[in-house]
């Protein structure tokens, strides 16, 4: 459908002025990064290319308009003896500069509509993960995989201890020292990441247990709000195994900046092993107090500053 047309026009346009930007796939933001990352899912190309195309269009228009302006400011200066002309109207140019933007906008709208339609289509997914936002952590529940319901696999995911200690006011610890391997993971690492298989259309159903959050992993190409009382849905199909990092993107209280998201994409075989391990763990609750279940019951105790005032109001 339209996304095929998009891809063709992308390849043409992406080679434009912006070839210098970001052809490297980032799993996490890099220093001096100038442009949006390409992402790692099948759909994440859409915002990336739309970003580049619209930026190129704006750059060209900007050069023309500002160029005309600077020429005018140079040529038509009183100090250079310029005498003001009297005209203040020209139907022909007015029609032209109303029509051309309309044409450009129609093209952009066509591309964006195709990309949006493919994003909104969550049918045919092979896996469902429920994401619930809490102040200030995420909960992941595995609902279904390859047509089979998954029972009792779910856990809380919150900021890793090293980041959490470093980020305290006056901790005296160096954010640059927070690393996993040689990747700087300050505020972008969690105690327990979401694990998903590669090459699988995963449907994320997203909601919240208290205030509004927003689940955003840039590698998927989208963010979607987690809203209490509402279940939103979107999908991602990761192309390469790896670790992809993101953050909450909707102000949700004092620790809004400290509830990252980490998605670990594994090969299908590795994922099956991991899932079997999780299922075995939850099937034998006597062995080790299941940390997931325990923290989930504690989660909804929330307030913006400290448990206070309107606890009665907020469920």
């Amino acid at each position: 459908m339209t996304s095929g047309g998009i891809r063709r026009s992308f390849t043409a346009a992406a080679t434009l002025a912006l070839a210098s930007f970001g052809s490297v796939v980032h799993a996490a933001p890099g220093p001096w990064q100038l442009n949006m990352e390409r992402g790692a899912s099948t759909w994440s190309q859409v915002p990336y290319h739309l970003n580049n195309i619209s930026l190129a269009v704006c750059t060209v228009i900007g050069i023309l308009v500002f160029g005309a302006m600077f020429i005018a400011m140079f040529r038509f200066r009183k100090s250079r003896g310029a005498v003001a002309e009297k005209w203040s109207h020209n139907t022909m140019v007015e029609v032209i500069w109303t029509t051309i933007p309309v044409i450009i906008l129609v093209v952009l709208a066509y591309l964006a509509t195709g990309g949006l339609t493919s994003w909104a289509d969550t049918t045919g997914s092979q896996m469902t993960v429920k994401v619930t936002g809490y102040q200030w952590k995420w909960r992941y529940d595995y609902v279904e995989y390859q047509g089979k319901p998954i029972d009792k696999v779910g856990f809380m995911s919150k900021l890793d201890t090293q980041s959490d200690q470093t980020r305290q006011l006056g901790s005296g610890m160096d954010p640059f020292a927070v690393k996993v391997g040689d990747e700087s993971t300050y505020l972008l690492n969690v105690d327990k990441p979401l694990v998903v298989p590669v090459d699988t259309k995963i449907r994320f159903v997203i909601t919240s247990g208290d205030v509004i959050h927003s689940w955003w992993v840039p590698a998927t190409g989208w963010k979607l709000d987690a809203i209490p009382g509402i279940i939103n849905a979107a999908w991602a199909n990761f192309q390469t195994p790896g670790t992809y990092r993101g953050q909450c993107a909707e102000l949700c209280g004092q620790d809004h900046g400290f509830m990252p998201i980490v998605v670990v994409v594994k090969s299908k075989a590795d994922f099956a092993t991991w899932l079997a391990g999780q299922q075995a763990q939850s099937a034998a609750p006597a062995a080790a107090p299941a940390p997931a279940a325990a923290s989930s019951t504690a989660a909804p105790q929330t307030s913006q500053v400290a448990p206070a005032a309107d606890a009665a109001k907020q469920g």
């Binding site: 890099g30 990064q33 190409g221 809004h256 907020q314």
Partner: protein, 538 residues
Amino acid sequence: MSYAATHDQHDDHHGAPKGFFQRWCMSTNHKDIGTLYLVFALTMFFIGGSFAMLIRAELFKPGLQLMQPYFFNQLTTMHALVMIFGAIMPAFVGLGNWMIPLMVGAPDMALPRMNNLSFWILPFAFTLLLSTLFMAGGGPAGGWTMYPPLSLQSDSLAYVVFAVHLMGISSIMGAINIIATILNMRAPGMELLKMPVFVWSWLITAFLLIAVMPVLAGAVTMLLTDKYFGTNFFNPGGGGDPVLYQHIFWFFGHPEVYIMILPAFGIISEIVPTFARKPIFGYKAMVFAIASIAFLSFIVWAHHMFAVGLPLGAEIFFMYATMLIAVPTGVKVFNWVATMWGSSMTFETPMLFAVGFIILFTIGGFSGLMLALVPADFQYHDTYFVVAHFHYVLVTGALFAIIAATYYWLPKWTGNMYSEFWAKMHFWNSVIWVNVLFFPQHFLGLAGMPRRIPDYNVAFANFNMISSIGGFLFGATQLIFIGVLIHCAFFSKKKATDRVWEGAKGLEWTVPSPAPHHTFDVPPVIHDDELAHGHVND
């Protein structure tokens, strides 16, 4: 102030009252009330600016150095509320108060006592709002948009809601006054399509204000009853819907954005022809563009909500409607450039700020177009890309226009010329540092830095430090502005002529400088060639 009564009095009614309290607190004079509005806006600009300095100081490097995250959230919330409702909007009302009667040949505003009331509400509203910072629970910290359920967790909600109610009442009264003045008090011969574009822009803005401020009042009242009176408008536990609030808020919020930029369009449309010595290109197109932007502003609100999970049809509709705004906005920019083409330009400070406005506002418009594309917005939304976008349209857009207008009309207000050297210092420092401040924020957003966070991954360190340095210097630069204003008002020896600028046209330049306490007691006789647009046939 030095623009007190200057011409020979034949009637006690004509002089400015002598006592300070009588003159300023009991004033019904549009010029004095305009001055009050402008001084108030300037004060708020520095208060809101000091919040911004603290924000940029905390963001100077990764790690928390200065404040707890909750206080940071109070700062971002207060910065927005103070700048939007305390600085930008009152500044435009002040400019409208001062200039609209002068530009249409009216002796004063139509409703002078209401004018006094609508100003004097504001200091109380902002005292109420700012006082929350010193209360036990702290100030509002849920963002200026006050999204529930988060905003309902704040102890200061009631104070904020009442402050917003007061600001709304003030704005609505101001808008009624401006509409009544423009529609009823124009001098004979000042037909609607001969009015300056600034007056047109304010007429349209005033209708926007009347249309949307009650909507905001309704939304925040529902927050209040949800928190204190057991209603469940936005509480899903009681059958309510948090997204409903966002729809109501942005139905106010998007026209509000244009309330802050349409008068700026008007100002630029006055300044560019003056210093280009050439009539504005496409006067009617300019007026219709403002009107169509105002109309479109009512049907684009959900583009602030692309990530809340709207149905596909709604996302497509709001995307198309938003993109459509680029057309009239483009027409305005093209018309300003066409006004410059074939002109005879000089670059005094008002013109410099106007040129800066056109270029930098257009950059903000470009990022706005990019944000309109829903799939791309899924990445941009709630990142620093958005922060960069709206600061380009509000700081280098609305604020630059206000500063341009101040330099443009300051000689008329004070009777003195400002220091052109220091004003140009102000401009060049502003225009350089504001770009150092906000341009890198585009990169931060694209790289994935969310907005409204007090701390960030080290990958964002470089551009944040650059942005903070730009912020501190942009803030410091504004002290030059204060110096120029004080010098001009009280110490400048250089007297302004009545016309002030060689290419200035319009009724406001026919009264003496400084403008006497009362002007146009007798309606002026309008000569079309003295008006900027009186003899334009398009």
